[in-house]
Protein backbone atom coordinates (compact mmCIF):
# COMPACT_ATOMS: atom_id res chain seq x y z
CA UNK A 1 0.00 0.00 0.00
CA UNK A 2 1.02 3.59 -0.58
CA UNK A 3 2.86 5.53 2.13
CA UNK A 4 1.10 8.67 3.35
CA UNK A 5 3.60 11.52 3.17
CA UNK A 6 4.07 13.98 0.34
CA UNK A 7 7.52 14.37 -1.10
CA UNK A 8 9.69 16.15 -3.62
CA UNK A 9 8.31 17.50 -6.86
CA UNK A 10 9.46 16.08 -10.20
CA UNK A 11 12.78 17.38 -11.53
CA UNK A 12 11.97 17.14 -15.23
CA UNK A 13 8.79 17.12 -17.30
CA UNK A 14 8.91 13.37 -17.99
CA UNK A 15 9.60 12.30 -14.44
CA UNK A 16 7.03 10.03 -12.83
CA UNK A 17 5.54 10.93 -9.44
CA UNK A 18 4.51 8.38 -6.84
CA UNK A 19 0.85 8.77 -5.91
CA UNK A 20 1.61 9.68 -2.30
CA UNK A 21 3.76 12.57 -3.54
CA UNK A 22 1.23 13.94 -6.01
CA UNK A 23 -0.33 17.34 -5.28
CA UNK A 24 -3.81 18.56 -6.41
CA UNK A 25 -2.05 21.09 -8.69
CA UNK A 26 -0.79 18.20 -10.79
CA UNK A 27 -4.23 17.34 -12.23
CA UNK A 28 -3.26 18.84 -15.58
CA UNK A 29 0.03 17.00 -15.54
CA UNK A 30 -1.11 13.59 -14.31
CA UNK A 31 -4.85 13.40 -15.03
CA UNK A 32 -8.02 12.91 -13.01
CA UNK A 33 -7.66 9.36 -11.75
CA UNK A 34 -4.15 9.90 -10.38
CA UNK A 35 -5.17 13.14 -8.68
CA UNK A 36 -8.29 11.63 -7.11
CA UNK A 37 -6.27 8.68 -5.79
CA UNK A 38 -3.59 10.97 -4.41
CA UNK A 39 -6.27 12.95 -2.61
CA UNK A 40 -7.69 9.78 -1.05
CA UNK A 41 -4.23 8.82 0.12
CA UNK A 42 -3.69 12.24 1.69
CA UNK A 43 -7.05 11.91 3.46
CA UNK A 44 -5.79 8.70 5.04
CA UNK A 45 -7.50 6.04 2.90
CA UNK A 46 -5.72 2.94 1.72
CA UNK A 47 -4.90 2.94 -1.99
CA UNK A 48 -2.64 0.63 -3.98
CA UNK A 49 0.95 1.87 -4.20
CA UNK A 50 1.98 3.19 -7.58
CA UNK A 51 3.20 6.08 -9.70
CA UNK A 52 1.75 8.50 -12.24
CA UNK A 53 3.30 9.08 -15.67
CA UNK A 54 2.75 12.74 -16.59
CA UNK A 55 0.73 13.68 -19.67
CA UNK A 56 3.87 15.34 -21.06
CA UNK A 57 5.16 11.82 -21.88
CA UNK A 58 2.00 11.11 -23.88
CA UNK A 59 2.17 14.43 -25.68
CA UNK A 60 5.79 13.95 -26.66
CA UNK A 61 5.25 10.35 -27.75
CA UNK A 62 2.31 11.07 -30.06
CA UNK A 63 4.11 14.10 -31.47
CA UNK A 64 6.94 11.82 -32.62
CA UNK A 65 4.46 9.90 -34.81
CA UNK A 66 4.45 11.36 -38.31
CA UNK A 67 0.86 10.32 -38.94
CA UNK A 68 -0.45 12.59 -36.18
CA UNK A 69 -0.47 15.65 -38.41
CA UNK A 70 -2.61 13.94 -41.05
CA UNK A 71 -5.07 12.82 -38.40
CA UNK A 72 -5.19 16.27 -36.82
CA UNK A 73 -5.85 17.93 -40.17
CA UNK A 74 -8.68 15.59 -40.94
CA UNK A 75 -10.07 15.96 -37.44
CA UNK A 76 -10.19 19.73 -37.79
CA UNK A 77 -11.86 19.57 -41.16
CA UNK A 78 -14.47 16.85 -41.08
CA UNK A 79 -17.66 16.12 -39.20
CA UNK A 80 -18.00 12.74 -40.78
CA UNK A 81 -17.70 10.26 -37.94
CA UNK A 82 -16.94 7.27 -40.14
CA UNK A 83 -14.04 9.01 -41.86
CA UNK A 84 -12.74 10.11 -38.48
CA UNK A 85 -12.92 6.61 -37.02
CA UNK A 86 -11.00 5.17 -39.97
CA UNK A 87 -8.38 7.86 -39.68
CA UNK A 88 -8.02 7.41 -35.90
CA UNK A 89 -7.70 3.65 -36.31
CA UNK A 90 -5.03 4.15 -38.97
CA UNK A 91 -3.19 6.49 -36.64
CA UNK A 92 -3.43 4.01 -33.77
CA UNK A 93 -2.02 1.23 -35.92
CA UNK A 94 0.82 3.37 -37.27
CA UNK A 95 1.68 4.85 -33.86
CA UNK A 96 1.79 1.46 -32.17
CA UNK A 97 4.88 0.70 -34.29
CA UNK A 98 6.76 3.63 -32.78
CA UNK A 99 9.14 3.12 -29.89
CA UNK A 100 8.64 5.23 -26.78
CA UNK A 101 11.46 7.86 -26.88
CA UNK A 102 14.38 6.69 -24.71
CA UNK A 103 14.23 9.73 -22.45
CA UNK A 104 10.63 8.90 -21.56
CA UNK A 105 11.07 5.13 -21.39
CA UNK A 106 13.96 5.64 -18.96
CA UNK A 107 11.77 7.65 -16.59
CA UNK A 108 9.02 5.02 -16.69
CA UNK A 109 11.56 2.24 -16.12
CA UNK A 110 13.06 4.16 -13.19
CA UNK A 111 9.60 4.51 -11.63
CA UNK A 112 8.84 0.89 -12.28
CA UNK A 113 12.09 -0.32 -10.73
CA UNK A 114 11.38 1.75 -7.64
CA UNK A 115 7.87 0.30 -7.44
CA UNK A 116 9.23 -3.24 -7.79
CA UNK A 117 11.58 -2.71 -4.85
CA UNK A 118 8.69 -1.41 -2.74
CA UNK A 119 6.10 -3.87 -3.92
CA UNK A 120 6.88 -7.46 -4.78
CA UNK A 121 4.73 -8.15 -7.86
CA UNK A 122 4.18 -11.78 -6.87
CA UNK A 123 2.34 -13.71 -9.54
CA UNK A 124 -0.20 -10.94 -10.17
CA UNK A 125 1.95 -8.12 -11.58
CA UNK A 126 0.84 -4.53 -11.88
CA UNK A 127 -2.10 -2.51 -13.14
CA UNK A 128 -1.57 0.05 -15.92
CA UNK A 129 -4.52 2.45 -15.97
CA UNK A 130 -5.54 5.53 -17.92
CA UNK A 131 -5.72 8.89 -16.16
CA UNK A 132 -6.87 11.39 -18.77
CA UNK A 133 -7.14 15.09 -17.99
CA UNK A 134 -10.85 15.01 -18.89
CA UNK A 135 -11.38 11.86 -16.87
CA UNK A 136 -13.23 11.47 -13.60
CA UNK A 137 -14.26 15.09 -13.32
CA UNK A 138 -17.71 16.34 -12.33
CA UNK A 139 -18.86 16.75 -15.90
CA UNK A 140 -17.16 13.84 -17.66
CA UNK A 141 -16.58 10.42 -16.26
CA UNK A 142 -14.92 9.26 -19.50
CA UNK A 143 -16.03 5.94 -17.99
CA UNK A 144 -14.65 2.96 -19.88
CA UNK A 145 -13.48 5.04 -22.83
CA UNK A 146 -9.75 4.55 -22.51
CA UNK A 147 -8.06 1.22 -21.90
CA UNK A 148 -6.53 -0.12 -18.73
CA UNK A 149 -4.42 -3.24 -18.43
CA UNK A 150 -4.42 -5.51 -15.41
CA UNK A 151 -1.88 -8.10 -14.19
CA UNK A 152 0.91 -6.71 -16.36
CA UNK A 153 3.98 -8.64 -15.31
CA UNK A 154 7.28 -7.17 -16.37
CA UNK A 155 9.04 -4.05 -17.59
CA UNK A 156 8.60 -4.78 -21.30
CA UNK A 157 4.90 -5.41 -20.94
CA UNK A 158 4.47 -2.37 -18.69
CA UNK A 159 6.02 -0.14 -21.37
CA UNK A 160 3.83 -1.73 -24.02
CA UNK A 161 0.72 -1.33 -21.86
CA UNK A 162 1.56 2.36 -21.24
CA UNK A 163 1.82 2.93 -24.98
CA UNK A 164 -1.46 1.16 -25.64
CA UNK A 165 -3.18 3.16 -22.89
CA UNK A 166 -1.97 6.39 -24.53
CA UNK A 167 -3.20 5.27 -27.93
CA UNK A 168 -6.59 4.17 -26.60
CA UNK A 169 -7.47 7.87 -26.67
CA UNK A 170 -7.67 7.36 -30.45
CA UNK A 171 -9.98 4.34 -30.19
CA UNK A 172 -13.35 4.66 -31.93
CA UNK A 173 -15.10 4.47 -28.59
CA UNK A 174 -13.11 7.29 -26.94
CA UNK A 175 -13.42 9.40 -30.06
CA UNK A 176 -17.18 8.94 -30.23
CA UNK A 177 -17.58 9.77 -26.55
CA UNK A 178 -15.51 12.95 -26.86
CA UNK A 179 -17.39 14.02 -29.94
CA UNK A 180 -20.76 13.45 -28.27
CA UNK A 181 -19.58 15.67 -25.41
CA UNK A 182 -18.23 18.31 -27.80
CA UNK A 183 -14.70 17.90 -26.49
CA UNK A 184 -11.86 18.29 -28.97
CA UNK A 185 -9.45 15.37 -28.74
CA UNK A 186 -6.56 17.84 -28.57
CA UNK A 187 -7.92 19.13 -25.28
CA UNK A 188 -7.45 15.72 -23.70
CA UNK A 189 -4.10 14.56 -22.42
CA UNK A 190 -3.46 11.02 -21.28
CA UNK A 191 -1.75 10.41 -17.99
CA UNK A 192 -1.11 6.82 -16.96
CA UNK A 193 -0.88 5.16 -13.56
CA UNK A 194 1.19 2.06 -12.83
CA UNK A 195 0.09 0.44 -9.57
CA UNK A 196 0.50 -2.71 -7.57
CA UNK A 197 -2.19 -5.16 -8.63
CA UNK A 198 -4.59 -6.04 -5.83
CA UNK A 199 -5.99 -9.49 -6.39
CA UNK A 200 -9.34 -8.92 -4.71
CA UNK A 201 -11.57 -11.77 -3.61
CA UNK A 202 -14.62 -9.59 -4.16
CA UNK A 203 -14.78 -6.28 -6.05
CA UNK A 204 -17.31 -3.75 -7.13
CA UNK A 205 -18.66 -0.25 -7.39
CA UNK A 206 -20.30 1.96 -4.78
CA UNK A 207 -22.27 5.17 -5.36
CA UNK A 208 -22.52 7.19 -2.17
CA UNK A 209 -25.98 8.44 -3.10
CA UNK A 210 -28.82 6.52 -4.68
CA UNK A 211 -28.18 7.78 -8.20
CA UNK A 212 -31.42 6.25 -9.43
CA UNK A 213 -33.80 8.07 -7.14
CA UNK A 214 -31.40 10.92 -6.32
CA UNK A 215 -31.74 10.08 -2.63
CA UNK A 216 -28.63 11.22 -0.70
CA UNK A 217 -29.74 9.19 2.35
CA UNK A 218 -29.10 5.93 0.49
CA UNK A 219 -26.11 4.42 -1.23
CA UNK A 220 -25.80 1.72 -3.86
CA UNK A 221 -23.30 -1.15 -4.00
CA UNK A 222 -22.62 -3.58 -6.87
CA UNK A 223 -20.42 -6.53 -5.96
CA UNK A 224 -19.17 -9.70 -7.56
CA UNK A 225 -16.37 -12.27 -7.20
CA UNK A 226 -12.84 -11.63 -8.44
CA UNK A 227 -11.51 -8.48 -10.09
CA UNK A 228 -13.78 -5.49 -10.64
CA UNK A 229 -13.33 -5.17 -14.39
CA UNK A 230 -16.08 -7.75 -14.99
CA UNK A 231 -18.55 -5.36 -13.33
CA UNK A 232 -17.54 -2.05 -14.85
CA UNK A 233 -17.24 -3.60 -18.30
CA UNK A 234 -20.62 -5.23 -17.75
CA UNK A 235 -19.47 -8.79 -18.33
CA UNK A 236 -21.37 -10.03 -15.30
CA UNK A 237 -24.65 -9.50 -13.50
CA UNK A 238 -23.40 -8.62 -10.01
CA UNK A 239 -25.19 -8.59 -6.66
CA UNK A 240 -26.80 -5.19 -6.00
CA UNK A 241 -27.62 -3.57 -2.70
CA UNK A 242 -29.41 -0.41 -1.62
CA UNK A 243 -28.34 0.73 1.82
CA UNK A 244 -29.70 3.42 4.10
CA UNK A 245 -26.84 5.46 5.48
CA UNK A 246 -28.16 6.75 8.81
CA UNK A 247 -28.67 4.45 10.66
CA UNK A 248 -27.09 1.84 8.37
CA UNK A 249 -29.72 -0.58 7.14
CA UNK A 250 -29.73 -2.87 4.11
CA UNK A 251 -32.95 -1.90 2.35
CA UNK A 252 -32.77 -4.01 -0.77
CA UNK A 253 -30.58 -6.90 -1.86
CA UNK A 254 -30.74 -8.39 -5.28
CA UNK A 255 -28.73 -11.47 -6.18
CA UNK A 256 -26.98 -11.39 -9.56
CA UNK A 257 -26.15 -14.66 -11.29
CA UNK A 258 -22.40 -13.82 -11.22
CA UNK A 259 -21.92 -16.39 -13.99
CA UNK A 260 -18.29 -15.44 -14.56
CA UNK A 261 -15.49 -13.74 -12.67
CA UNK A 262 -12.33 -11.99 -13.78
CA UNK A 263 -9.01 -13.57 -12.73
CA UNK A 264 -5.31 -13.31 -13.66
CA UNK A 265 -4.33 -15.20 -16.78
CA UNK A 266 -2.01 -18.12 -16.04
CA UNK A 267 0.33 -17.12 -18.87
CA UNK A 268 2.53 -14.07 -19.19
CA UNK A 269 0.71 -12.07 -21.83
CA UNK A 270 -0.07 -8.38 -22.25
CA UNK A 271 -3.73 -8.95 -21.49
CA UNK A 272 -3.25 -10.94 -18.39
CA UNK A 273 -6.79 -11.48 -17.15
CA UNK A 274 -9.49 -13.83 -18.28
CA UNK A 275 -13.08 -14.63 -17.41
CA UNK A 276 -13.66 -17.90 -15.58
CA UNK A 277 -16.91 -19.65 -14.77
CA UNK A 278 -18.14 -19.09 -11.24
CA UNK A 279 -18.74 -22.35 -9.33
CA UNK A 280 -22.51 -22.89 -8.79
CA UNK A 281 -22.37 -22.56 -4.99
CA UNK A 282 -20.75 -19.12 -5.29
CA UNK A 283 -23.34 -17.95 -7.82
CA UNK A 284 -26.09 -18.68 -5.35
CA UNK A 285 -24.63 -16.80 -2.41
CA UNK A 286 -24.21 -13.05 -1.95
CA UNK A 287 -20.65 -11.91 -2.59
CA UNK A 288 -20.75 -9.62 0.49
CA UNK A 289 -22.27 -10.48 3.88
CA UNK A 290 -23.99 -7.98 6.19
CA UNK A 291 -20.87 -7.27 8.20
CA UNK A 292 -18.87 -6.50 5.06
CA UNK A 293 -21.68 -4.33 3.69
CA UNK A 294 -21.71 -2.24 6.86
CA UNK A 295 -17.93 -1.84 6.74
CA UNK A 296 -18.02 -0.81 3.07
CA UNK A 297 -20.92 1.58 3.69
CA UNK A 298 -18.97 3.26 6.49
CA UNK A 299 -15.98 3.63 4.14
CA UNK A 300 -18.23 5.22 1.49
CA UNK A 301 -19.78 7.64 3.97
CA UNK A 302 -16.33 8.66 5.24
CA UNK A 303 -14.97 9.24 1.73
CA UNK A 304 -18.00 11.29 0.76
CA UNK A 305 -17.74 13.38 3.92
CA UNK A 306 -14.02 14.02 3.57
CA UNK A 307 -14.14 14.83 -0.15
CA UNK A 308 -17.28 16.86 0.28
CA UNK A 309 -19.58 15.52 -2.42
CA UNK A 310 -21.08 12.23 -3.66
CA UNK A 311 -18.60 9.75 -5.08
CA UNK A 312 -18.59 6.86 -7.53
CA UNK A 313 -16.06 4.46 -6.00
CA UNK A 314 -14.41 1.32 -7.37
CA UNK A 315 -13.26 -0.94 -4.54
CA UNK A 316 -11.87 -4.38 -3.91
CA UNK A 317 -11.82 -6.63 -0.85
CA UNK A 318 -8.77 -8.62 0.12
CA UNK A 319 -7.62 -10.23 3.38
CA UNK A 320 -10.42 -8.67 5.37
CA UNK A 321 -9.86 -5.12 4.10
CA UNK A 322 -11.58 -2.88 1.56
CA UNK A 323 -9.19 -1.03 -0.73
CA UNK A 324 -10.24 1.89 -2.93
CA UNK A 325 -9.09 1.53 -6.54
CA UNK A 326 -10.67 4.71 -7.84
CA UNK A 327 -13.02 7.46 -6.82
CA UNK A 328 -14.67 10.15 -8.92
CA UNK A 329 -17.54 12.57 -8.56
CA UNK A 330 -20.90 11.13 -9.54
CA UNK A 331 -21.66 12.56 -12.97
CA UNK A 332 -25.11 13.68 -14.04
CA UNK A 333 -26.61 15.13 -17.18
Amino acid sequence: MAPRQQGPQPQNRFQVTFLHQLTPEQIETCGGKATNLARLNQLGFTIPNGFAIPTECFKTFVATCQQLEAFDNLHQNTDDIETLIHSATDFQTAASEYEIPTEIANEIIAGFKQLVTQQDPGPTGYAVRSSATAEDTKKFSFAGQADSFLCVRDQTHVLDAVKRTWLSLYSPRALLYLQSKDININQVQMGVIVQEMILGEVSGVMFTTNVVTNDPEQLIIDSSWGLGESIVAGKVNPDSFIIQKQPIEIIERRMGDKAVYSAPHPQDRPECTLLKETPPEKREMFSLDDEQLVKLTNLGIEIEQKIGYPQDIEWTYKDGEFIVLQTRPITTS
Binding site: G144, I231, G234
Partner: protein
Protein backbone atom coordinates in the same frame (compact mmCIF):
# COMPACT_ATOMS: atom_id res chain seq x y z
CA UNK B 1 -49.21 -4.12 -22.95
CA UNK B 2 -47.29 -6.88 -21.22
CA UNK B 3 -44.20 -7.10 -19.07
CA UNK B 4 -41.44 -8.91 -20.95
CA UNK B 5 -38.38 -8.07 -18.91
CA UNK B 6 -37.03 -6.91 -15.57
CA UNK B 7 -33.77 -5.29 -14.53
CA UNK B 8 -32.11 -2.48 -12.60
CA UNK B 9 -32.92 1.02 -13.77
CA UNK B 10 -30.14 3.60 -13.87
CA UNK B 11 -32.43 6.62 -13.55
CA UNK B 12 -35.91 6.90 -12.08
CA UNK B 13 -37.47 7.78 -15.43
CA UNK B 14 -39.65 6.01 -17.97
CA UNK B 15 -38.99 5.91 -21.71
CA UNK B 16 -40.89 4.72 -24.73
CA UNK B 17 -39.89 3.96 -28.30
CA UNK B 18 -39.20 1.50 -31.08
CA UNK B 19 -36.66 -1.08 -29.99
CA UNK B 20 -33.50 -1.35 -32.08
CA UNK B 21 -30.91 -4.06 -31.52
CA UNK B 22 -27.31 -2.83 -31.57
CA UNK B 23 -24.45 -5.29 -31.87
CA UNK B 24 -21.65 -3.26 -33.46
CA UNK B 25 -20.24 0.20 -33.98
CA UNK B 26 -21.60 -0.05 -37.52
CA UNK B 27 -25.14 -0.41 -36.11
CA UNK B 28 -24.53 2.75 -34.08
CA UNK B 29 -23.44 4.68 -37.16
CA UNK B 30 -26.44 3.42 -39.16
CA UNK B 31 -28.74 4.56 -36.38
CA UNK B 32 -26.99 7.93 -36.25
CA UNK B 33 -27.61 8.39 -39.98
CA UNK B 34 -31.28 7.59 -39.47
CA UNK B 35 -31.53 10.17 -36.71
CA UNK B 36 -29.85 12.77 -38.92
CA UNK B 37 -32.21 11.99 -41.80
CA UNK B 38 -35.17 12.34 -39.45
CA UNK B 39 -33.84 15.67 -38.23
CA UNK B 40 -33.57 16.91 -41.80
CA UNK B 41 -37.14 15.90 -42.49
CA UNK B 42 -38.23 17.28 -39.12
CA UNK B 43 -39.79 13.96 -38.14
CA UNK B 44 -39.18 12.01 -34.97
CA UNK B 45 -39.51 8.37 -34.23
CA UNK B 46 -38.42 7.82 -30.62
CA UNK B 47 -36.07 4.89 -30.17
CA UNK B 48 -34.76 2.62 -27.47
CA UNK B 49 -31.78 0.36 -28.09
CA UNK B 50 -31.09 -3.14 -26.87
CA UNK B 51 -27.45 -4.11 -26.28
CA UNK B 52 -25.87 -7.19 -24.77
CA UNK B 53 -22.64 -5.71 -23.54
CA UNK B 54 -22.67 -3.07 -20.81
CA UNK B 55 -19.20 -2.06 -21.92
CA UNK B 56 -20.84 -0.81 -25.13
CA UNK B 57 -20.09 2.83 -24.49
CA UNK B 58 -19.69 3.25 -28.27
CA UNK B 59 -23.36 4.26 -28.05
CA UNK B 60 -22.18 7.78 -27.15
CA UNK B 61 -23.03 9.47 -30.50
CA UNK B 62 -26.66 8.37 -30.36
CA UNK B 63 -27.26 8.69 -26.62
CA UNK B 64 -28.45 12.29 -26.81
CA UNK B 65 -31.05 11.20 -29.36
CA UNK B 66 -32.24 8.02 -27.67
CA UNK B 67 -35.10 7.67 -25.22
CA UNK B 68 -33.50 4.83 -23.30
CA UNK B 69 -31.25 1.76 -23.34
CA UNK B 70 -31.94 -1.87 -22.45
CA UNK B 71 -28.90 -4.00 -21.60
CA UNK B 72 -28.99 -7.71 -20.86
CA UNK B 73 -25.87 -7.61 -18.69
CA UNK B 74 -24.26 -5.36 -16.10
CA UNK B 75 -25.69 -3.30 -13.26
CA UNK B 76 -25.75 0.28 -12.00
CA UNK B 77 -21.97 0.50 -11.67
CA UNK B 78 -21.31 -0.53 -15.28
CA UNK B 79 -19.84 2.08 -17.60
CA UNK B 80 -22.97 2.07 -19.74
CA UNK B 81 -25.17 2.99 -16.75
CA UNK B 82 -22.79 5.81 -15.80
CA UNK B 83 -22.52 7.23 -19.32
CA UNK B 84 -26.28 7.06 -20.05
CA UNK B 85 -26.91 8.93 -16.81
CA UNK B 86 -24.68 11.73 -18.09
CA UNK B 87 -27.11 12.02 -21.00
CA UNK B 88 -30.16 11.97 -18.73
CA UNK B 89 -31.74 8.82 -20.18
CA UNK B 90 -32.66 5.63 -18.31
CA UNK B 91 -30.81 2.37 -18.91
CA UNK B 92 -32.41 -0.89 -17.82
CA UNK B 93 -29.39 -2.96 -16.77
CA UNK B 94 -28.93 -6.71 -16.29
CA UNK B 95 -32.32 -7.16 -17.93
CA UNK B 96 -33.77 -10.63 -17.93
CA UNK B 97 -36.02 -10.83 -20.97
CA UNK B 98 -38.72 -13.47 -21.04
CA UNK B 99 -40.11 -13.15 -24.52
CA UNK B 100 -39.97 -15.74 -27.26
CA UNK B 101 -40.37 -13.62 -30.41
CA UNK B 102 -38.05 -11.23 -32.16
CA UNK B 103 -38.03 -7.92 -30.27
CA UNK B 104 -36.43 -5.75 -32.96
CA UNK B 105 -38.65 -2.89 -34.16
CA UNK B 106 -41.37 -3.54 -31.59
CA UNK B 107 -42.66 -0.65 -29.50
CA UNK B 108 -41.51 -0.91 -25.89
CA UNK B 109 -41.47 1.06 -22.68
CA UNK B 110 -38.96 1.13 -19.83
CA UNK B 111 -40.63 1.88 -16.53
CA UNK B 112 -39.27 2.23 -12.98
CA UNK B 113 -40.76 -0.21 -10.47
CA UNK B 114 -39.86 -0.76 -6.82
CA UNK B 115 -36.52 0.29 -5.36
CA UNK B 116 -33.95 0.54 -8.11
CA UNK B 117 -35.71 -1.99 -10.30
CA UNK B 118 -37.38 -1.36 -13.60
CA UNK B 119 -39.43 -3.30 -16.10
CA UNK B 120 -39.55 -3.62 -19.86
CA UNK B 121 -43.04 -3.53 -21.32
CA UNK B 122 -44.13 -4.54 -24.80
CA UNK B 123 -46.73 -2.10 -26.03
CA UNK B 124 -49.71 -3.03 -28.14
CA UNK B 125 -49.51 -2.57 -31.88
Amino acid sequence: MKQIGEGLISLNKSAEGILRVITSIQDVLTLLKEFKAEEEQATTDPKIVLVEDAGTTTLAPVLSRLQGVVCTSGALGSHLAIVTREFGIPALMGTKINYEDELANQRVRIEPSEGNSGVLLLLDE
